[in-house]
């Protein structure tokens, strides 16, 4: 798809020490670099190679993605929250682009 736009689902509120589930999805073709086009020339690899989730600036979950992962990668993971703050999510593309999203959470 033309524009790459991540989707993130995280709860807006939680109690201190609660473990919350975070789901992320991004549209990306995850071109593996193993395929060839109609003329037999290899299609260059272009994947999301790294995903980073941070809370209030502190990384708590990172993933190195590999070429065999399907298009539109979906990741879900958990975080234990002790204080209010902001989750930031970054996807790193092979071409150097960085896609970002953020969600704030209120802990009380």
């Amino acid at each position: 798809m033309a524009t790459i736009r991540p989707r993130v689902k995280a709860p807006r509120k939680a109690s201190p020490g609660e473990v919350v589930e975070i789901k992320t999805l991004i549209n990306h073709s995850m071109e593996s670099g193993q395929r060839k086009d109609k003329n037999g020339d290899p299609i260059p690899r272009q994947i999301i190679n790294k995903f980073v989730a941070a809370f209030n600036g502190r990384e708590f979950f990172t993933v190195d993605l590999a070429p065999a992962i399907s298009a539109n990668p979906y990741l879900s993971f958990y975080a234990k929250v002790e204080e209010s703050g902001e989750f930031t999510f970054t996807w790193h593309d092979d071409d150097g682009s960085v896609y970002e999203d953020s969600k704030s959470i209120e802990v009380a």
Binding site: R5, K13, S15, L25, A71, N72, Y74, S76
Partner: protein, 275 residues
């Protein structure tokens, strides 16, 4: 934290548990005889959902996890976007899609008077674009057209399909039926040979479904993308070594009516997830 929030946390944990549990019974009953498929099975009619694996079904059940919603959200934006010489958007005429488009997917394809033939939703969108918005039609299988179609059809989610095959649509329905029952291609197979005579049986390692249309456009894991029913038709035709017809051709639109009618009573699932 209020009790309601706590309940929400428990609920999501509970849902996750359900998702994991679903693997067990489904694997044990993939012949579909021992499992209650709820709305996905109406009499002898079975949605493609009932042939999908537990993980594929879980992807469809969670609207967040379903990648087709990436397309659908794009369609939602397009609904509001003015375009063409008339500078109008879908919303200018049709308003809130949740109201105006509810039930639409249960009726299409319809007989369209001005054309004197059938029209499906993709064609309807492009007809609106050309005549009302005076804009360029969207290309078949473009992300924009798939997104808009998925968005429009999703407004009827869960409603039973009820296409009309009498009146002016009757001759086209008969043509679609004839297409469905005609042998074609080097393998000399008709649609019926797989989807009627052998539904539920294996073709190599794959289970043949009834070929129901209620989930299209669908996110197909093989395609790693959303695709239309006509794309599926073309794939099927190619598999039996037949020359596929073009997207939006009369042959396929007639066939779409027949195939959709076979699923009358099944719920609209668009956009579904299939293997």
């Amino acid at each position: 934290m209020t009790t309601a929030n706590k309940a929400f946390g428990l609920l999501s944990a509970g849902l996750l548990g359900l998702g994991l549990l679903a693997t067990g019974p489904a694997n044990a009953a993939d012949d579909g005889t021992r499992i209650d498929w709820g709305p996905y099975k109406v009499d002898e009619k079975r949605s493609g959902y009932t042939y999908a694996g537990a993980q594929t079904r879980a992807m469809q059940d969670d609207e967040f996890q379903n990648p087709a919603f990436l397309w659908l959200e794009r369609g939602m934006d397009l609904w509001e976007t003015a375009d063409g010489a008339a500078n109008t958007s879908c919303a200018d005429c049709h308003g809130d899609a949740e109201e105006s488009m509810a039930g639409v997917a249960t009726r299409y394809p319809i007989y369209f008077d001005d054309w004197g033939k059938l029209m499906n939703i993709e064609q309807r969108i492009n007809w609106c674009r050309e005549t009302q918005m005076q804009a360029e039609p969207l290309k078949w299988e473009s992300d924009a057209l798939l997104g808009l179609t998925a968005f429009v059809k999703n407004q009827s989610k869960g409603m039973p399909i009820d296409v009309a095959v009498d009146g002016p649509a009757a001759p086209f329905f008969e043509q679609g039926k004839a297409f469905y029952e005609t042998r074609r291609g080097q393998l000399d197979l008709a649609c019926t040979h797989c989807h009627v005579d052998n539904e539920g049986n294996l073709i190599r390692a794959e289970t043949l479904s009834q070929g129901q249309a209620n989930g299209f456009p669908t996110y197909r894991l093989k395609w790693q993308s959303v695709g239309s029913l006509h794309r599926r038709f073309r794939g099927c035709n190619r598999n039996i070594r037949a020359q596929p017809y073009p997207y939006g051709s009369d042959e396929y639109t007639n066939l779409e009516l027949y195939v959709t009618w076979r699923g009358n009573g099944l719920p609209v699932e668009s956009p579904s997830v299939r293997k």
